[in-house]
Structures are given as structure tokens and as C-alpha cells.
Symmetry: C2
Subunit: 121 residues, 2 copies
Amino acid sequence: METPNAVAALAALAQDNRLDIFRLLVEAGPEGMAAGQVADKLGLAPNTLTFHFDRLRFAGLVTVRREGRSMIYAARFEAMNDLVSFLTENCCQGSQEKCAPAAICKPTGVRHEAVSRARRR
Amino acid sequence: METPNAVAALAALAQDNRLDIFRLLVEAGPEGMAAGQVADKLGLAPNTLTFHFDRLRFAGLVTVRREGRSMIYAARFEAMNDLVSFLTENCCQGSQEKCAPAAICKPTGVRHEAVSRARRR
DNA sequence: AAAACGTTTCCATATTCGTTGAAATATGGA
DNA sequence: TCCATATTTCAACGAATATGGAAACGTTTT
């Protein structure tokens, strides 16, 4: 992954609502999730949601497709993987032993924590 | 790593100059690097640099110590590692096979690419 | 065709961000 | 003490960001 794309991806995820959105899409899996469902789950206004989807899409983290009158958004796992690789490489330069050890390689099992704090506003 | 810290770290790295700064510090290793050296290498004004250092420090990605009249900044590898773990966990929920495979675990060897585009302005 | 539904576009607003120039602060040396 | 060096603080600015309301758009149902 090239630096500008990495910056774009980081910026896209560096916002509470967008990170929540992305998490939800990751949880939803490759089939994705309708915009309206995301709006309901997270308590976001539809236009605000569109704004954030645009950013995620521009960063290549998400894809859209139409299905009936719904827009289905889905996480691009490949992009996320690229980002993690980018960070790992740029984190471990010159001191591989200090960073990204076995910890991140062990399958940790599905973790939850978020998504229970929806309907904030 | 808790979500708000992750967002802070992502935001801190989601900016060209700051990402370059952090990379430079990673390259410099645990002993760190004087603010002035970073300014020289990247061609940034000292006050601008202070601004970015503050953000990196606030996000826990960097530490400072005084040494003579220089301020030595150093990357906090632990924080970076936490961030990568956070992303990996939040990326792979429900579909471990799709994301963060062996690729990121293989030591890829030291990569360069940046730092040669300094003195932009 | 009309109405309902799901989403996006447009416009406005308050806030945050990145950068700059000038002045202030802290340390070390003559 | 006076001066140079290294960095931070302060005030200001334009640009980008996040959000909201109202209207428009495309699709399905009737």
C-alpha cells in the first residue's frame, strides 16, 4: 500500500462514527449491510451517514451496490489488511523485535465491545 | 487498546507530515531523535513541528525528554503495536480467514521508501 | 400515474485542523 | 552577564470536517 492511500485509510477510520460504521460492516461480513440498517443501529441521520460512507468509500475501505431501493455497503477486508501490513512495516523498521510480535498473529477469537453503545444522540 | 485511544492514534497518523515524522522516529529507534533533526530532515518549520509532536504525544505514540537544549522525541513502539492489534481484532471479527493472514507475520525486512522526499516546501 | 420508501444532494453552520510569523522560554557557552 | 542555540507559545488565518434541515432522486408498490 502506498503512503497516500494509507493516510486516506487512516483518516477514514480516525473518527468515532466512521470507525463504528466500519466495525459494523466488518461484523456484517462480505454481504454487507443496507445503509438504513446502519443508520438504525448507530442512530445516525441518513445524510450524515452518506457523508461518512463517501469517506470510507473514497479511502477504498468500503464498496456499495444497489439492491432494490437500498444501498448495500460492505467492508473491503483486503484494504484493511493492506493497511495493517503498511503499519506493521512502517512500525517495525529497524527494530522488528520491538513491535508486532506473535500477539497479533494468534487468532484471538471474535471480540465484541462496541455496537452496544448505539443511539447516543 | 480502548476505542477512544485507537481513534486518537489513527487521527495522529492520518496526516502526511505526522506519518513522516513517526516513520522517522521509528527508524531512529528507541533512543529517538532531536526535534531539530526531524525539522531538518523533513523541512518543517519548528513551530509546525511542535504542533504535530503534541498530537503524536497526546495520542501516546511518542515520548519526549530533554537533553541539553534539545528535545528528544522517540516512538512508542508499544502504542503502535497496540494499534495494530486493535485494527486486526476489529478487522477480523466474524471472518478471520479474510483478513490479516500470514502476510503481516512474516518479517519482511527493513523497508524504505519515504524520507527521500524531504524539503518539499 | 401517484404514493411510499430508502438514500443522496444541496446549503448552511460551528468546529477543528494545519500552517505561519512574531515573541517568549530554556539551556549552554563566552 | 550577555549571546547564541533549540524549542515552545501565542495569535491569526484559510481550509477542511462533521452535522443538520430541506429538497431531490431512484425504486417499488398500488
